[in-house]
């Protein structure tokens, strides 16, 4: 029996008690780990988001305690609320794995795969998704759809080719900023994120569209081509900002702040949205009060060579030649101990 006023839901065999009204995805996030379905369009901070990308599809093998019938189709876990006694299969269902693979393939057929020149590479959710769930090669042999690059405002560039139409930026523009000037035009696979007749978006909070974009479609023009994210070091910092919370992550290369972003949680969602002046104008260490290095998931490419401690395999300990070759790493390991 579940706790008073709570629903019991079992996801991939792990049971958790959640409040009524919780979605399957959020219930899975409470459990954490591998069973959390990937989400490209859902964003917990944006009302109405989700349900579009279909990567979070799961199978409901038991509807609820009262009505144990399974749901006939796979459901989008980000928009389906749990029922008491619901049983959900995510990675344990071959149907889900297969469908998800299909969705990833569909998302990639019109994606330019220009990761080597894309600023998002390294922190791109589509890369992670493709790596975890995708096929190793494409079956698509036709021309990909292309669009012109558009500069929307001084600081943001829209790269529509890379867009997966998650609508997150549309929700940001609608919910965080005043006036509706950013939306989707056209239909089907010609759909295009656009501003009203390519108006520059000038709004204090519009920079957040860069953070919510799961791919490299909306990029920071002040950071474009400056560096790869895995060569920069993220540090949490804050300042006394009159418009926003002022809690940010600074991305350092040497002593230089290359860019400023909002802080993100383990599901790659922004904790608190930040304003444009924090993001684009305050790029000196002197503007900020530093806190500590940002905690990054250990399997993220961003952590590469930064914070991980090198544990030498036994073979290195025995072989002086290999010890010589790995001298630098071993020395750093000693330092960090």
């Amino acid at each position: 029996m579940a706790e008073e006023g709570k629903f019991k839901v079992t996801i991939d065999g792990i049971t958790v008690d959640v409040s009524p009204g919780t979605t399957i995805l959020n219930a899975a996030r409470q459990i954490g780990g591998d069973i959390v379905p990937p989400a490209m369009c859902y964003y917990s901070k944006l009302e109405g988001s989700g349900g579009k990308c279909r990567t979070c599809l799961v199978k409901v093998s038991k509807g609820s305690e009262k009505d144990p019938r399974p749901m006939p189709k796979l459901v989008a876990s980000c928009r389906t609320t749990v029922m008491d006694g619901m049983e959900v299969q995510n990675i344990t269902s071959p149907d889900v794995v297969e469908a998800r693979k299909g969705v990833v393939e569909m998302l990639l057929i019109n994606h330019p795969l220009d990761c080597p020149v894309c600023d998002q590479a390294g922190e791109c959710k589509l890369q992670d998704l493709g790596y975890e769930h995708g096929a190793d090669q494409t079956r698509y042999e036709f021309d990909r759809r292309t669009f012109e690059r558009i500069d929307i405002g001084e600081q943001i560039q829209l790269h529509m080719n890379r867009c997966i139409l998650c609508y997150r930026c549309v929700y940001v523009a609608n919910q965080l900023t005043a006036g509706r000037e950013h939306g989707v035009i056209n239909r089907g696979d010609h759909s295009e994120i656009s501003t009203f007749i390519e108006n520059a978006l000038e709004n204090d909070f519009i920079g957040n569209v860069i953070d919510v974009c799961p791919v490299g479609a909306l990029t920071d023009r002040t950071f474009r081509f400056k560096n790869r994210v895995w060569f920069t070091k993220p540090v949490d910092a804050h300042r006394d900002c009159p418009t926003c919370s002022g809690k940010v992550t600074l991305w350092y290369k040497g002593d230089e702040v290359l860019r400023v972003t909002a802080r993100k949680d383990e599901f790659n969602e922004v904790e608190e949205f930040i304003c444009n002046s924090c993001r684009f104008e305050k790029k000196k260490t002197a503007d900020w009060l530093l806190e500590e290095p940002t905690l990054i998931e250990k399997d993220s490419v961003i952590t590469a060579n930064h914070y991980s401690v090198f544990t030498p395999p036994p073979v290195i300990k025995q072989n002086p030649k290999l010890q010589e070759a790995n001298e630098e790493q071993l020395a750093r390991t000693e330092r960090l101990k």
Binding site: A76, G102, V103, M106, I109, R187, G188, D189, S191
Partner: protein, 450 residues
């Protein structure tokens, strides 16, 4: 002669005017419902009639009405879906052109049953003449006191408005229609909540097809039980079928459900057979979205029984050897038609009409079109057939709204039943540009399907 309920007086000159329509017994249902019945009585009659939604899904109308949430102080809406744009379907347009008052009368009766004081008729933007006709009919009904405040002294108020759509197929999906009606981009909403709980402007709403609404008029007039006597099993009443393709007499027919498909195609009362003395190759029973069936499965089910025009009989055998009633857009193909080309045509339509909201439909429909285009124009590879099968499988059931499924089913059924034609197209690229494949091998001579 089969019984007609909707098109009885269709040939009477001037039936589109209120005066002639009343002389033929029009607006009796409004008088009967408003003066002698309570709203719940009307819902009960519709439930008894067994009327099923005529727009495509075939969901029982009475049950849909009973799901409508009725919180206090919140208005309820009835929305009529006149956004008929399924390829092969043209029955609602015919009904609205010829006998618009049947729709208005149905709107009044249905709105009364649901307790809605405002109702909308959403008509596809391309049908401007029909919009004018319906608007004129509303004005006539209003001046005769059938619309407005205190209708026929019953104390019931109703206003009906016509809203032209922008001509997008997706706006025929009920939640996309509501979005469009609210003045937004016509993207389907994610369900739940269903419109019966939170529909138009967040209020409880019922969305019904034009034909379903018009069918409530004979139900109120003669009673639900009388209506349920027509038809077989759970397919009751009459249905408008818009027949097109290689038929001697294509057009809109009102049939009693339960009519054998064979009789519908070959009888002189209906389509009169295949044009130019050709043979039937395939048929689509309910608009482009439903699975296409080859000759041998069109008139007989896999069990060897005669296939009837009912929701159950057409769906007999599931999607493997059956199809669906859909919206009643009947398309017949003779032996000269190319299934590959037809599938390409349908898929191009779905690609064009996909709203682009969810990824499998947005990307998958375009991909299927490109692969089919390649096959049709002689550049196909034999592996493309399996690729197509795989793409449709990954769209089917994984999308927000039924458009994804609707784009997948025609491709799946064409490959399932006409795989040899696809193979022939690919293996004979030059020949396939100059002539058509003809009848499928198993359709001629007829081989029973095991």
């Amino acid at each position: 002669m089969a019984r007609k309920l909707l098109l009885t007086h269709i040939d009477v000159p001037g039936i589109d005017t209120l005066e002639v329509y009343r002389r033929q017994g029009g607006y009796r249902a409004v008088e009967k419902a408003l003066k002698t019945m309570s709203p719940d009585d009307v819902v009960e009659e519709v439930k008894k009639s067994g009327l099923r939604g005529r727009g495509g899904a075939g969901f029982p109308t009475g049950m849909k009405w009973s799901f409508l949430a009725k919180p206090d102080g919140v208005p309820r809406y009835l929305v009529c879906n006149g956004d008929e744009s399924e390829p092969g379907t043209f029955k609602d347009r015919f009904l609205m052109t010829k006998i618009p008052h049947a729709l208005i009368e149905g709107m009044i009766v249905s709105s009364y049953a649901l307790g809605a004081n405002t109702a909308y008729i959403y008509i596809r933007g391309e049908m401007m003449p029909q919009i004018r006709i319906v608007e004129r009919a509303i004005a006539e009904a209003k001046s005769a006191g059938f619309l407005g405040k205190n209708i026929l002294g019953s104390g019931y108020d109703l206003e009906v408005y016509v809203q032209p759509g922008g001509g997008a197929y997706i706006c025929g999906e009920e939640t996309a229609l509501l979005e469009s009606l609210e003045g937004k981009r016509g993207n389907p909403r994610i369900k739940p909540p269903f419109p019966a709980v939170a529909g138009l402007y967040g209020c409880p709403t019922v969305v019904n097809n034009v034909e379903s609404i018009a069918a409530t008029v004979p139900i109120v007039n003669d009673g639900g039980e009388e209506y349920a006597k027509i038809g077989i099993e759970r397919s009751t009443g009459t249905k408008l079928i818009s027949a097109s393709g290689n038929l001697v007499r294509p057009g809109v027919y009102e049939i009693e459900l339960g009519l054998p498909v064979e009789e519908f195609i070959y009888s002189d009362e209906y389509c009169g057979g295949i044009a130019n003395g050709k043979r039937l190759k395939a048929m689509v029973a309910g608009g482009s979205s439903v699975p296409i069936l080859p000759n041998n499965l069109a008139t007989k089910t896999a069990k060897g029984e005669a296939r009837l025009m009912t929701y159950e009989s057409l769906a007999d055998g599931g999607f493997v050897t059956g199809t669906a009633m859909g919206s009643g857009g009947f398309i017949a193909f003779d032996e000269d038609q190319c299934i590959v080309r037809n599938t390409l045509n349908f898929t191009r339509f779905y690609h064009h009409e996909s709203c682009g909201q969810c990824s499998p439909c947005r990307e998958g429909t375009g991909w299927m079109e490109k692969v089919l285009h390649k096959i049709e124009y002689g550049h196909g590879d034999i592996a493309d057939i399996d690729l197509l099968w795989d793409i449709q499988r990954k769209i089917d059931g994984n999308t927000i709204c039924p458009l994804g499924d609707a784009s997948a089913w025609p491709v799946a059924s064409a490959i399932r039943h006409f795989r040899d034609e696809f193979e022939w197209h690919i293996l004979n690229p030059r020949e396939s540009q100059t002539r058509n494949f003809g009848l499928a091998h198993y359709a001629d001579p007829l081989v029973p399907v095991v």
